[in-house]
Amino acid sequence: MDEIEKHVEDIYRALDGKVEREVIARELRNWIVNFKIPISEAKRSIVSKLGGDPNKLVGNERKIEALRSGEGRVDIRAKVISINSREYEIDGIKRKMYYGILGDETGTIPFTAWRLELELRKGDCVEIKNAYTKEWQGSPQLVIGTNTRVSLLPPDSVRVKLSISPRKIVELYPRMGLVEVTGKIMDVLEKEVVVEGVSRKVYEGIIRDDTGEIPFSAWDVEVKKGDVLRISGGYVRTFRGMPQLVFDPRATITKEKIDFEIKEIPVTLESLEGKGGYNVLVEGVIIDVKKGSGLIYRCPECGRVLSSTNCPEHGKVTPAPDMRIKAVLDDGTGAAICIFNREQTERIIGISVDEALRIVQENLGNPTVIREIIEEKLIAVPMKVRGNAISKEKYGLTILVKDFQFLDLEDIAKKAEQMLQDLG
């Protein structure tokens, strides 16, 4: 009942007290109980009907363009431009959080919702009351918290002005708003997907510019390998721990005639924290070799690493020997666990799996001897690594190494001389 009284008060104030509260309350009950009109819509209509200006109802209603970081009690009316969900765990309970982009006639803003009582979809128009903003990646983000009310507005009741910023691929991170990206399609695969009974075509692949590469997912937009496209109005989400560019026919897509070569400039590990990156190049020093590096045994059926002859899934098996390295690469800005596969491990230590088995046997079956060889080879060694960097909240960054190279240190004196000259 408090809730209704509050709305009555809102209307009463919007009408400058010219209409009695009882009249307003009767009217409001009629609209919401008998006609089942959403409250916000009912309020606007009542103010209008009783001779007032519905814009006076706004309260804390704000326009997206004017929002700054760190504001409390924000009300907006907006359209859902994109929405994605992610599962997380608190105290062993699985929960779902939502994130995406909202827009109104003044601009767009990324949002996060820790709890949503109604199922929101892309294109829905909503009224959000009592949200707040915080800084995220240097820009304001709207947060829908436990005290925020979200209600649906009639379809297409909010017009959206899309603010689209041109970005290089290396700058893309999830939830940054709408972006314009120009790049070359390096690879593409066509898929048919049924969404809510409707069959749709998805083109998935890799797009590249001169700063890097990113996987994309294009819905109902045919893209061909080798095309150079300017995609204006896509957005970025997290997919398998890496950023992914998503776009559909609402984006403006034009063909360009430029070609792109990837510059072999390493990115910092700090820049990958919390977002990951596809096929990135990083440079740093190996500062730790983790347990589970060296000679390991896998289930021949599922590849799971075993510590006995029992696989939790396949029971008693004859484990197959394998080698790998889990090493921490640190570039002074951040760190990542790099996973080197069998062939790469063999290259690093110059020992094959068969030889490793023999060495372990000679050391009374103690497999740590191989890890010690790896530590001797890798600790404090500077290297360049290329691979997919996967970002997970709990574990930080993991890089699945595609290629690696030990740094050539012979030219340090020359580099030092150059730097001294630059410093004057």
Binding site: E135, G138, T268, L269, E270, S271, E273, G274, V285, I287, D288, V328, D330, D331, G332, T333, G334, A335, I379, A380, P382, E393, K394, G396, L397, L407, L409, E410, I412, A413, K415, A416, E417, M419, L420, L423
Partner: protein, 283 residues
């Protein structure tokens, strides 16, 4: 939780830090804020191991010198591998150390910084050169950031990020400007250039490789001063925990550098030992 990066800083910058952010929860990192805005929880250093001392049965203290000074490495019972390496290698030796910051703060204005090693490895000279260059390059970025921040009326993380500095650099620089009254950027710029010069071939032929070893042993320690310090150590050993460094400094009227030299000399002669960091006792 992303892993804390291993910062590359010269020992002179690390050792002149006066501010420390202690972790409020277990398992959370503590940070040292250097005057040039490195917000350090972990370090990676490569230098010359010049000295290893057994402090107790379980603690080894070592010095790793770079061109600007030296890092103190403190390996205890939780760092058996690092301790074992430190105990067995001969000095001088090129050494790489990965470790956590360690702060001993007996009073508000006094801070002793060391590194508790996670990994220690004997390395080649070329890696030291790489480290010096890499460390200089990073110092330059922080000098630039400090200079930009000093120009601002109210420097914030956001305004520095907008200028293109990374978030961690921006946070460290803002923290340093908040805490340090005066930051002598010029001094660090000179230090940076000096460090780089040591990498040039003409400096190498001069035999500049292991300067810190000779420098340290150069000066003779006066017998009278040693006698005085020994007496003071007995006198100030009140609760049998040893005489504190601060008391020794106050009562002896020596400069901290001179006192350090005498204490090291006495420890080397086997006259005294350091039962706790910053506490000295007769053997």
């Amino acid at each position: 939780m992303p892993r804390e990066p291993a910062w590359r800083v010269f020992s002179a910058e690390y050792n002149s830090s006066k501010h420390y952010i202690k972790a409020t929860e277990p398992k959370k990192p503590s940070y040292v804020i250097t005057p040039l805005g490195a917000k350090i929880s972990r370090l990676f250093v490569v230098g010359v191991l010049t000295e290893v001392r057994l402090i107790t049965d379980e603690i080894v203290k070592a010095r790793v010198a770079d061109q600007t000074g030296a890092f103190y490495i403190l390996a205890g019972k939780f760092n058996p591998e690092a301790r074992q390496i430190l105990e067995t290698v001969k000095v001088p030796q090129f050494l790489a150390v990965v470790g956590k910051v360690n702060v001993y703060q007996p009073e508000e204005d006094t801070m002793y910084l060391s590194i508790v090693p996670e990994r220690v490895k004997v390395v080649k000279e070329i890696l030291r050169d790489y480290w010096v260059f890499d460390t200089a390059r990073r110092l330059k970025i922080r000098i630039d950031a400090i200079n930009e921040a000093l120009k601002m009326e109210n420097p914030t993380v956001k305004s520095l990020v907008e200028l293109g500095f990374s978030r961690k650099i921006a946070e460290g620089v803002v923290a340093a400007i908040d805490r340090y009254e005066k930051i002598n950027v010029e001094k660090y710029m000179d230090m940076l250039k000096d460090a780089l010069k040591h990498l040039l071939p003409e400096y190498k032929v001069l035999g500049y490789e292991l300067p810190t070893v000779e420098e340290e042993e150069e000066e003779e320690i006066g017998g009278e001063e040693e006698e005085m310090i020994l007496k003071l150590i007995d006198e100030l050993n009140v609760d049998n925990r040893g005489a504190s460094y601060e008391d020794l400094l106050k009562r002896s009227n020596l400069s901290p550098e001179r006192l350090d030299e005498i204490l090291i000399s006495l420890q080397e002669k086997g006259e005294i030992y350091e039962p706790y960091l910053g506490r000295f006792k007769r053997i």
